[in-house]
């Protein structure tokens, strides 16, 4: 370690980004990174027993790696080096590309500080830009800002990716899917459940995919709700009912295959309770379609994951630790933690009329189903101006006094109004086992993110993952008992400005990190990162060559497309623009293409395409 190196390197970084300089200095002062000396005398960091460079000839290894990438610089592209290590690979790149066109990303601040203290300022040249110690969302946002209108290459340092695969592999995948979106994006079939609390999520997810530039279609199974009710009420024989239910599941799963193949989907995504069978998943695999399941359920409460998780290519979950372990035990290779989120186009601050404020407003409110722990807890809040909204509150005794609309289901639109109109939204996660607050509660419900996105103030019961998502005390406040809730409620009712500031901070954080667009970007990034060959099939923009092959060389479409050969990916607009400019009588297919483009224009204008 050479403190001169560190000072010089740090000054360079701090001149560009003072906050990052402070962060690195703190990490340097408390650094405990193990550093080995390679055979040739070069320093090599070792983390979790893994050396991040060759312990023989780190520079020679880096040279080989760089050569294997086969990069031909065009003189203007930006290079994103994912994984800083001790910079041997970076030196190779800087031999060919000026530092101004290189961005270095490092997840571990301590490792970055160690690199700056062990390697000379020649390695970290002036002009380099650094993104260090940021989470995935923030890193991606910064890269997006830098590469908005610039071509870029992402070079992932293999040893860093091996150390933090969920960071570097996902990040590189997200960058790839972003580029794919510019060429038309992936086609995604989203399979909805027949009913249940996750049903509204399908629309949020679809919007998120589409806003990211991909194309998502929902296979809406909710239309079978009536059929399911009919089946369940048809017979008192459990055997018959089970057999009929299995038949319905098979039918719905077969529909997924039929639609996915017809659509030429790149990905089929299921969310909680959506119907799937192993046979169908096999069929989709054969068709080279990625399959993923987002298990937005409590794994302890709903154990059906045991029979399905293994069959999906990708399994996304909202609980970490023990659940990940259990999934791996049954053969589900790489479960990925992906919390739920909010849709800021739906969950947003509203200006309510006096009538709406009167109808939906109160000091305290809760929108949700009548779970055991809520019934117990809310009974202790009856002395407040408290409105209880939602269904499944049958036989709720004294709570009937505060139950609104006789326990009718509340629409999303009204829910958002209630969130907005309430002074303190009581967000008590459901539990069927505990009275009041579940002391072991970990994951966050959608309501946490939705309230925050609305800029609505909430008191939420203590959850293990809450601090990963929001700053407790400045963005949300918590309670772990009825008495604590009452104390805090009294405080916040008396201090409206604190409520407003906290709710605004929570909304800002949500928009920055916790929307469905963030989640779906991560989901696609995980899949693309794990599957380097995964590119949009028909979802991506076709080339003239693709269209000629698909239509058959003898077809009139193939003849029309001849003039576009060698032009790369083409939009309908590209093709139509050239045909419009031409002279002479239009061929029939040319006329059809112009007509299609006119239809597309109309659709865009009306907002339906």
């Amino acid at each position: 370690m050479d403190s001169n190196y560190f000072e010089k390197n740090l000054k360079r970084v701090a001149d560009q980004d003072p906050a990052l300089g402070d962060k690195l200095l703190k990490a340097y002062q408390s650094s405990s990174i193990e550093v080995k000396t390679a055979r040739n005398g070069s320093p090599v960091p070792v983390i979790q027993g893994k050396a991040l460079h060759s312990t023989y000839e780190p520079a020679a290894e880096a040279e080989k790696w760089f050569a294997s990438l086969g990069i031909e610089d065009d003189g203007k592209s930006l290079y994103i080096v994912a994984g800083m290590g001790f910079g041997y690979h970076l030196e190779q790149l800087l031999k060919r590309v000026p530092a101004e066109r290189v961005v270095v990303i490092e997840k571990d601040v301590s490792l970055a500080a160690a690199a700056l203290s062990h390697r000379s300022p020649d390695t970290f040249q002036a002009g380099l830009r650094f993104i260090i110690g940021e989470n995935l969302t923030s890193t991606l946002q910064q890269i997006n800002d830098l590469t908005e209108s610039t071509k870029f290459h992402c070079l992932v340092h293999p040893a860093s990716a091996d150390l933090f695969p969920e960071y570097y592999i996902t990040l590189s995948g997200q960058l790839r899917t972003r580029q794919a979106a510019k060429r038309g994006g992936y086609k995604i079939l989203l399979v909805s459940p027949i009913y249940g609390g996750t049903l509204p999520m399908t629309t949020y997810i679809q919007n998120a995919f589409n806003n990211l530039g991909h194309r998502c279609e929902i296979l809406d199974n909710s239309v079978f709700r009536g059929g399911l009710d009919l089946i369940n009420g048809l017979t008192s024989s459990k055997q018959h009912a089970a057999s009929l239910n299995a038949g319905l599941t098979t039918l719905l799963a077969e529909m997924v295959t039929a639609r996915a193949l017809d659509l030429r989907a790149d990905l089929v995504l299921w969310i909680a309770q959506s119907p799937a069978t192993p046979e169908v998943l096999q069929e989709l695999k054969k068709a080279d379609i990625q399959t993923a399941f987002w298990f937005v359920e409590d794994y302890q409460l709903l154990p059906y994951w045991q029979s399905i998780a293994l069959h999906f290519d990708h399994f996304f979950i909202i609980q970490k630790g023990e659940f990940e372990q259990k999934l791996m035990e049954i053969g589900c290779r790489q479960p990925h933690y992906l919390p739920v989120a909010a849709d800021p186009h739906v969950h947003l601050p509203l200006n309510l009329s006096p009538e709406e404020l009167s109808e939906f407003g109160s000091d305290l409110s809760h929108v949700g189903a009548g779970y055991f722990n809520r019934r117990d807890f809310f009974t202790g809040l009856l002395d407040y101006d408290f409105k209880l909204w939602g269904s499944d509150w049958e036989k709720s005794g004294v709570l009937n006094r505060i139950l609104q609309r006789a326990g009718a289901r509340i629409s999303t639109e009204d829910t958002v109004k209630i969130f907005n109109a309430t002074k303190i939204n009581v967000n008590l996660h459901s539990s069927t086992f505990h009275s009041g607050v579940n002391p072991f509660g970990d994951f966050l419900n959608p309501r946490t993110f939705e309230l925050a996105a609305c800029g609505a103030f909430q008191l939420v019961d203590q959850r293990k993952y809450l601090a990963d998502n929001y700053d407790i005390g400045s963005e949300v406040d918590t309670f772990s008992s009825l008495q604590e809730f009452r104390d805090k409620a009294a405080h916040y009712l008396e201090n409206p400005q604190e409520r407003i500031e906290m709710a605004e901070a929570a909304r800002a954080r949500t928009l920055k990190e916790h929307t469905y667009e963030h989640r779906m970007s991560e989901l696609l990034g995980v899949i693309a990162g794990r599957c380097p060959q995964w590119e949009p099939k028909s979802g991506g923009l076709p080339t003239a060559e693709d269209l000629i092959t698909e239509a058959g060389v003898e077809s009139e479409l193939a003849q029309v497309m001849q003039q576009f050969v060698g032009r790369g990916p083409l939009t309908l607009e590209d093709i139509a623009a050239d045909l419009e400019k031409g002279e002479g009588q239009l061929k029939r297919t040319e006329a059809m293409i112009l007509l299609l483009n006119e239809f597309r224009r109309w659709g865009v204008e009306k907002g339906v395409v």
Binding site: G539, I593, V609
Partner: protein
């Protein structure tokens, strides 16, 4: 018999407003067999027209689905259009009559280059041709709608054909008549009134309490049996009314397809509704009808096409409002009251005089001697301007039956104003044209065929805003004229020539105004209320 393909990729009401044009094409001398291209959800409505020989449905939803999934869906998109092209090619029309005014229909009309087109046609390089001149007039209305005095049905007829025929072409089957007898209880001695409460825009929607009171009055004061018709979305409102008013109300909202709706309306004595599809259906069935024209709806544009109609519209400075506008205080909803509607119905049933009402204009629909629909009754602001330009355009674009010159209801003051201004305008126009012509030869010698001539004329449009319809027509013709002009400069020259000729023609009409007025056949546009 020649064959015509009529493109009517329109909504329910718009398609109905094309029906008389289809009759003209079929019935007048040299008549046509007709194939009608319609959205697939309007096939049953299209079948009501007796003269339609073939219906070609267009499945826009399928194409939309493809586009939503794949912005580059060239191959699937082309495949989905093949049936449409094949159907048209198999039919082999001699003429395409495009009565839809979207770009999509314009491009579709141009997809069959060997077939002549009436209506909008958009060729390569955005080369737009609008033939006949009434099509160009139609598009000029996007700017000068407030001067329009022609009903949309008449414009469709003028675009489709040079001749008009009688229209009695809606076919109601005996089955449907029987069905109506089954679903509407017989109520002997009672007047049966069909009511359609719905409008295609929330701003046009007369409030439900007003409808409720109207229906209550119909039941209590006229002992009428009221049949509510409309879409599924109106079921709840209709039910709330029938719950209050009682069993004299028959709620058929959401229960009728177009053919059944026609039979239901046909079984009624009178129809009341807003400017909507059912109103136009009632008019074409010859039913006496009362139409409400609120917000952006204007009776001059879309009055019920019948001589047994009454239109009610607010006489407010803000009416009709802009199509794209929003309104937080739609006072037009309040000035029209249930009592006014009842008064109009009584007028239709008993021929009692229409009484003037403050802030509201009530008019009868009547056909003028040329066979075009017009309005007669309590005038509102802007009517004189509409009448002036209506008669001026009839003079400019004469067709069979047109009365030459300004009719007696255009008041002398307006004529005098225009007569003063037109001389000044003509002088300035000629100067502007001479200046631009001076540069023309030099420009053409350079091989430059871009239009630089029209800018001087455009600058006069603001100064002479009362001539806006002429300038808007000129503006349209600078870019979209007839097929014989190719380069921008040719179009601009032709448009200039048209403008100057039209101005001279109007000037001549204005000079001869008195003589022509005195020789006109007796034809009162306004009744006694206006003269008082």
């Amino acid at each position: 018999m020649a064959k015509a393909l009529v493109i009517a990729l329109a909504r329910f009401g718009d398609l109905l407003q094309s029906f008389p044009a289809i009759s003209d094409l079929h019935r007048t001398s040299g008549g046509h067999e007709i194939a009608l291209l319609v959205p697939d959800d309007l096939v049953s409505l299209a079948k009501l027209h007796r003269c339609v020989d073939e219906i070609i449905p267009f499945d826009g939803d399928e194409l939309l689905h493809i586009m939503r999934l794949d912005q580059a869906a060239v191959q699937q998109g082309v495949a989905s259009l093949v049936p449409l092209f094949e159907a048209i090619e198999t039919y082999q029309p001699d003429v395409i009559v495009n009565l839809t005014h979207t770009r999509f229909s314009g491009v579709l009309a141009a997809s069959f280059p060997d077939i002549p087109v009436r209506g909008r046609l958009i060729q390569r390089n955005d080369d737009e041709i609008l033939e006949p001149h009434w099509t160009r007039y139609f598009f000029s209305l996007l700017e000068s709608r407030s001067c329009n005095g022609f009903n949309l049905v008449d414009l469709n007829r003028k675009i489709a054909s040079d001749q008009c025929s009688a229209f009695e072409d809606i076919d109601i089957s005996a089955d449907h008549q029987r069905h109506v007898a089954e679903i509407i209880p017989a109520a002997a001695q009672r007047i049966r009134i069909a009511v359609a409460m719905g409008a295609n825009h929330p701003l046009r929607q007369w409030p439900v309490p007003s409808w409720k009171e109207t229906i209550r009055l119909l039941a209590s004061e006229m002992s009428a049996q009221v049949v509510l018709v409309g879409t599924k979305s109106e079921i709840a409102d209709a039910q709330s009314i029938s719950d209050v008013v009682g069993n004299v109300v028959v709620n058929l909202c959401g229960q009728t397809d177009p053919a059944q709706l026609a039979a239901v309306i046909d079984s009624c004595d009178i129809f009341i509704g807003q400017d909507s599809g059912p109103l136009h259906l009632a008019a074409l069935l010859g039913k006496p009808c009362v139409g409400l024209y609120l917000a952006m709806a204007s009776a001059w544009d879309t009055a019920p096409y019948t001589s047994h109609g009454v239109t009610i519209e607010p006489d407010l400075d803000c009416h009709p409002c802009s199509e794209s506008g929003s309104c937080n205080n739609p006072i037009c909803h309040a000035v029209v009251t249930p009592e006014i509607v009842l008064h109009s119905i009584r007028h239709l049933l008993t021929e009692a005089n229409l009484q003037p009402v403050a802030d509201v204009s009530i008019k009868n629909t009547v056909f003028d001697p040329s066979g075009c629909l017009t309005l007669a009754g309590q005038p509102k602001k802007g009517d004189q301007l509409r009448l002036f330009w209506r008669t001026a355009l009839q003079g400019l674009f004469p067709s069979t039956g047109t009365v030459p010159g300004f009719n007696k209801n255009v008041n002398a003051e307006i004529i005098s104003q225009y007569r003063d201004n037109i001389t000044i305008l003509e002088k300035k126009l000629l100067e502007a044209v001479q200046q631009s012509m001076g540069r023309l030869q030099e420009q053409l010698d350079r091989g430059d065929y871009q239009d630089t001539l029209s800018s001087e004329i455009f600058s006069l449009a603001d100064e002479f805003s009362s001539f806006r319809p002429l300038f808007d027509l000129y503006r349209i013709e600078c870019f979209n004229s007839s097929a014989e002009y190719f380069s921008p400069i040719e179009k601009a020259l032709a448009a200039q020539e048209n403008l100057l000729q039209r101005l001279t023609r109007i000037q001549r009409l204005l000079i001869n105004y008195t003589a022509i007025r005195d020789n006109q056949p007796e034809f009162a546009l306004y009744n006694d209320a206006i003269n008082a």
